[in-house]
């Protein structure tokens, strides 16, 4: 099981770039890295997924080093509405394993004005 470790909380200011790092030292060859965002009173929402190097979409970028033992979610120019909990999830994309579908405690990002 590729257990993940993230900072419990982070603060940032509007307009700054925010980088949240997730450690997953025991990541397996078939594992992908997926990030979710959760606002209060809502379910988590998919942000981005990657396997190696860099992935970018309209919301964020995901940087994965060659050894894949960590990953960094990068949010460009955050706004107050980006205040949320961010979860890193590591697992095989095809899975019957509950362990690969269990989220950690996430990182509470607070964006300040």
């Amino acid at each position: 099981l590729a257990k993940t470790t993230q900072p419990i909380s982070m603060d940032s200011y509007e307009g700054q770039e925010v980088n949240i790092t997730c450690s997953h030292n025991n990541i397996a060859t078939n594992d992908y890295i997926t990030w979710y965002q959760q606002f209060p009173s809502q379910g988590p929402r998919f942000i981005i997924q990657g396997y190696k190097t860099k992935v970018t979409n309209e919301v964020a970028s995901l940087f994965i080093p060659a050894d894949r033992k960590s990953s960094t979610l990068s949010l460009p120019r955050v706004s107050l509405s980006d205040t949320a909990v961010y979860y890193c999830l590591v697992g095989d994309r095809v899975s019957g394993s509950a362990r690969q579908l269990t989220f950690g405690s996430g990182t509470q990002l607070t964006v300040l004005p």
Partner: protein, 116 residues
């Protein structure tokens, strides 16, 4: 259109009662899930169904019984409610966990259960 919808959104009940939470998805997905989120924000999977078949059944008390009448619906029935059952329960779906899951789970908005 809400992709994954669950009812009720809030549920307050007494210990010992039986309650149900319903979930429906209109995404055409084959796989549905129930998650429990505790006060520390951990999201723990409880059950998963793929095309109405139970494929993941975590260490959950027998008081919790899921039912999937068809692949678009997954309900959760809880008997003899206890204080520790208070949490937010999330339903989710994905294309097909066993063959082609993209890794993206689509979650409902959650059902907050409070047991008094």
């Amino acid at each position: 259109d809400t992709a994954v919808s669950q009812t009720p959104k809030y549920l307050v009940t007494q210990m010992g009662n039986d309650k149900s939470i319903k979930c429906e998805q209109n995404l055409g997905h084959d796989t549905m899930y129930w998650y429990k989120q505790d006060s520390k924000k951990f999201l723990k999977i409880m059950f998963s169904y793929n095309n109405k078949e139970l494929i993941i059944n975590e260490t959950v008390p027998n008081r919790f019984s899921p039912k999937s009448p068809d692949k678009a619906h997954l309900n959760l029935h809880i008997n003899s409610l206890e204080l520790g059952d208070s949490a937010v329960y999330f339903c989710a779906s994905s294309p097909n966990i066993l063959t082609g899951n993209t890794g993206e789970l689509f979650f409902g908005e959650g059902s907050r259960l409070t047991v008094l």
